[in-house]
């Protein structure tokens, strides 16, 4: 990190300091600070950790103000510093409308996760690992250099491995190892891909080796066939991370055994590394290959939506149920991403943020139930609405958001994904829309068994939400309502970047036109053959 002083801050009007490096450095320094504190002062440790994450959160929220929406397609707050010059590796950071809200989401969720639950033992290591995790995640979302991206992408695994393994529940060692090996194996090939991209790019353009994402993506110099292979290597890493069916089975184990904060961060942020990766290092870096492989991912996305929901329905453990619901929700993101049009991609982006908010809130609530009742087994709960009406009301709101009730956040993303997918590939969207029926089924059924009915045994005396817990949940609840009623400020900031991405794909894929609605063209005959607009575009 000695290179920090040499960071060059560019094109950030009104930014007094290198805010993106700070987003990474501050939590890292916070982690160091925590490690230096005395082990036996948990409240002090927590104070430092929370303060650090609040500062980071504040900075990330402040980005919203500084972000220039009209130039949302351009990288902003960029900063650059040489790192390993011989290999063309540099600290290259920047965000656009695509990464902006993921950075903000990360900034907001970490303080909440830190405040929500105490680790119970080994506080110092716990807080340090969480802060390292935050640094890594911020790095992933801000990195514009492939090597830095990969580094951060992998760094994230280590703290998560320890968080699950040391502070988790039940079968935590198994879950942690499975999580680590599975995702590590997935991303091993990505390193190959990254090196191949850089060298092939240098080869094709005759320039020196660089890992600069924007430079490589804009040049599109790599041979089509090679690009497809490399894309596959990247896609495998992202697919495991998302996770996409059938590579999802690490997720229920990791989610279930992780401590509450771990589940919150895992669901809220880490799953987005994969979907974000698809956008930035899939669609942007390899537009042609993304278009080529789109049918595969569309299909897997739809399968994930239905399959995740069906399996979620039959779960007996609340956390496993939420984990499988994530598989379904992330299926929507994949579907929207590979619809390759503005509505779909934007819907996917919104869904990333919304899933982060809603599922985090769900995990917090399940964690609160677990703290009180020491069980997550649905069968052992019941009638909680009688003893904890406020918690039931909050749970209802979050559940309705997760079901995709219009007026709450979940709907906007899901709807845009489906609209985009319908315009691109009608029948995929028609099937995927069936997922909303199943979502209602598994969540309402779970709610009924946990909160409705007569209260058995200890359930009758379960204490209601405490003020502190309410305050922790409050920002998420506010976001759930706000993003559902007035998503415009968010969409506005995403749209230029998404439009640019779609234009980029159009530019580099022969004969591809963004699949949009037909308005303006002759609507006579629309829908006669259930024809697929994107494919028509290909025929030209």
């Amino acid at each position: 990190m000695g290179a920090l002083s040499t960071f060059v801050v560019a094109s950030s009007p009104g930014v007094p300091f290198a805010v993106l490096p700070a987003l990474i450095v501050v939590p890292a320094v916070g982690a160091l600070l925590v490690v230096c504190l005395p082990r036996r002062r948990p409240e002090l440790l927590k104070l430092v950790a929370v303060a650090t994450s609040v500062i980071v959160g504040g900075m990330s929220v402040w980005l919203l103000k500084g972000f220039d929406a009209t130039h949302g397609a351009e990288m902003q707050f960029t900063s650059q510093a040489d790192w390993i010059s011989d290999l063309g590796i540099q600290w290259l950071l920047g965000i656009d409308g695509i990464s902006l809200f993921l950075v903000v989401l990360t900034g907001v969720l970490f303080p909440i996760a830190l405040l929500a639950v105490d680790p119970g033992h080994d506080d110092r290591a716990y807080y340090a690992w969480l802060l390292v995790l935050e640094a890594g995640v911020m790095g992933v979302f801000c990195a514009l250099d492939l090597v830095v991206f990969f580094l951060c992408f992998e760094v994230v695994l280590v703290p998560m491995y320890f968080l699950i393994g040391r502070w988790g529940h039940g079968n935590r060692a198994y879950a942690a190892t499975k999580f680590f090996l599975y995702t590590m194996a997935g991303s091993a090939l990505m390193l190959v891909g990254i090196l191949a991209v850089a060298f092939l790019h240098a080869d094709a353009t005759g320039t020196s080796v660089t890992f600069d994402l924007v430079a490589i993506a804009e040049a599109q110099a790599i041979d089509t066939n090679a690009a497809r292979w490399i894309f596959a290597a990247f896609a495998l890493a992202f697919a495991v991370k998302v996770p996409i069916f059938p590579l999802h089975t690490w997720l229920p184990d990791a989610h279930t055994e992780a401590p509450t904060a771990g589940s919150v961060i895992l669901a809220g942020v880490l799953l987005k590394l994969g979907t974000y990766g698809f956008l930035r290092f899939g669609l942007y870096l390899f537009p042609e290959a993304s278009h080529f492989f789109a049918p595969v991912f569309l299909t897997l996305g739809v399968v994930g939506i239905i399959y995740g929901a069906v399996v979620a329905t039959m779960q007996r453990d609340l956390k496993r149920l939420v984990a499988y619901s994530s598989v379904a929700h992330l299926g929507f993101i994949v579907l929207g991403t590979f619809a390759l049009n503005t509505e779909g991609i934007e819907g996917g982006l919104l869904q990333m943020v919304n899933h982060g908010v809603s599922t985090s809130a769900l995990f917090l609530l399940v964690g609160m139930i677990y703290e009180r009742r020491h069980t997550r087994q649905i069968d052992e709960l019941g009638g909680l609405q009688k003893s904890a009406p406020v918690m039931a009301a909050v749970f209802t709101l979050v559940m309705l958001s997760s079901i995709g009730l219009p007026g709450l956040n979940g709907f906007v993303g899901e709807f845009l994904v489906l609209v985009g997918a319908f315009n691109a590939h009608r029948w995929w969207a028609v099937v995927a829309a069936g997922g909303v029926v199943l979502a209602a089924l598994y969540l309402l059924w779970a709610y009924q068994r946990v909160f409705h009915g007569p209260a058995k045994g200890d359930n009758a005396e379960m204490p209601d939400l405490k003020l502190r817990e309410g305050l922790v949940l409050a920002p998420l609840l506010a976001l759930i309502v706000f993003m559902g009623v007035y998503p415009k400020p968010v969409i506005e900031r995403m749209e230029p970047a998404v439009d640019a991405l779609v234009a980029h794909i159009e530019e580099h894929v022969d004969g591809f036109h963004e699949p949009t609605s037909r308005f303006g063209v002759d609507i006579e005959g629309a829908g006669d053959h259930g024809s697929d607009h994107a494919d028509e575009g290909d025929d030209h």
Binding site: L418, Y486, F519
Partner: protein, 737 residues
Amino acid sequence: MLDLVWLIPSLPLAGFLVLTFGGKRLGEPWAGWLATGAMAGSFLATVGVFLDLAGRDVQDRRAVTTLFEWIPAGDLRVDVGFLADPLSLTMCLFITGVGALIHLYSVGYMHGDGEFPRFFTYLNLFAFSMLILVLGDNLLLTFLGWEGVGACSYLLISFWFTDEANATAGKKAFVTNRIGDWGFMVAIFMTFFTFGSVAYVDVLDTTAAGTVAQSTATFIAVMLFVGAIGKSAQFPLYLWLPDAMAGPTPVSALIHAATMVTSGVYLLTRVNPIIADAADWVPTMIAWTGAGTALFAATIAVAQRDIKKVLAYSTVSQLGYMFLAVGCGAYVAAVFHMVTHAFFKALLFLGSGSVIHGMDGDQDMAHYGGLRRFMPITAGTFIIGWLAIAGVPPFAGFWSKDEILAFAWNESPLLWAVGLVTAVLTAFYMTRQVVLTFFGRHRFADPRSDEVDAVWAARLAGADEGVEAARAAVVDAETALEVRRGAATAADEAAVTEAEGVLSAAVDALTVAEAAVADVRAAADVRPDLPALALAGAPDVGAVADELPDAVADRAAHHPHESPWTMAFPLVVLAGLSVLGGLVQLPFSSSTKRLEHWLEPTLFHNEVHLSIGAGTLWVLAVIAVAGGAVGIAVAVAAYGQRRIDHTAFERPILAEAWRFDRKVSDFMGGPGRTGFDATAAFDRKVVDGAVEGMATLVRREAGLLRRFHNGLVRTYAVGIGLGAVGLVLWFLSRSSF
């Protein structure tokens, strides 16, 4: 006034927000008054907007007020905006008007409930969602209201959540509705795909201009129809509505009779240009679905004993009439019947609530009878509602139903015949309900079969106990005898004899006890079964009359009571509306068809015009009235005068709703569940099993590499890294040429 249209949904929303955060502090009754006030204010705002709109020229009666941009993404631009036109204002008038009355009624009905404020919170949220549904200026905002009312319906059906049945009913309603919502969503996708907009003004005007392909219009219309049959409880998605009666009765009146369930009819009426452009089989399908559902549900209503179940199936049936009207192109008739139905069905539900309230929660009509003496206002108003739904002129229902039947005849005599049979059945089951509830002998003090059974069970148990005791005595006596015989000396002879005497006495006693059991059993076997419906006189309970529990005497002592004014007042107002509702659309001349003129601008000339003469219309009306009279007469003969055996009508298959619900439940609980379980098992064993298998394989085959298999993740990481580097080298050596 027109620019105040936003006030209509805002007042219930404000009520909801205040109650959410301060409802508990307000408590009973202020939470109820606040919610009622919000609705009343909303009604006044609606009247204001209505008067403004009515005062304008016909072509100016459509105004869009945009509040803000909701979802502006890509080509999609969706606003939160309100479309004030004759159709939406008609809906708003009865939603807020009837809604305010039902809010007021609830203040009385929910009195004493521990969660009084929560009830009104949901009720206001429902009203808000319903108003958004009808006022939304685009399909997506309508969909927001559509799902919102569904969520409120869920919350209110499972309001008394500690009862598992209520919770299940709520969930069933939401999930079944979502199946319909799937159709609605797909319709929205197709609409956006075709028109690049989901705003009614764009979509309907473009369609009305006739530039949309028939196949596209067909697709959209069919998908919207799928949505409509979910919300409006038509076959086969009606299944949730009878179960929805688990909610408090005001909810049944407001949501499951007057407003929400008519959303489907509203939606189809709203998009009438799309239906007009769709293939011919689409309206035919709508008409037959409606007619079929109307008849189907009416046959079920005939055999129900639960007062609310009768009304629930009746609602399904009446909604069928509205679909029949839409399918026949009689949109005005559909809206007309929607309005009159809102009046009389809300009245009937609230009346039933008043009866249930007076009967301390009992919903079984077999326990009613003669209640008009105890609750005269409820009885009087209920009778008006009955006359209205039974199609007796000049009550409101007669006019609207008659109009639908005329259009059905216009379309196909077969549709008309189905509608007519349904009308006869409607008159029959509603008369049955009125007679069973308010006329005849009052049966609330009758001993009930479960009580009588309990007495007999107690008797049998007592006799059995006697036998057990006698048996024990015999055993004791035998033991005593053995003991004395064992200690046999001459001197004990007398003692032995005495013991023998005791034993024989004990044996005799046992014989007596066993005979007594046999007697009781025999008596129990020959005792008359209590009639399910004791119409003729108090059931004869025979020998156990004196042993009946106190509850029976209590019921005789505590008469059912009339409800408080908060409940009675809405009944009176709705009764007035049920009498006069027909005035908005009288068929005599063009000038008396006020509703038709009013709605005309929203119907884009898609309203079908009758091609049958006035003479035929009169004949049809006479036949319909005669049919209704037959239905009433038969029901009176069966239940009032007992000249026909009523069990002839109450077939088990009808009482069990043709067993369709059970078949579906069996499928869901059987093969459906098995399929879900199998998928979960597949995930565990196959998908995850493959991963585990891979791990096992690696572990087993790694003999040579065992040194590296030291359990430390970092070693694996190094291995993976080295492997990756190797691959890179290989890759580079291959691809640099």
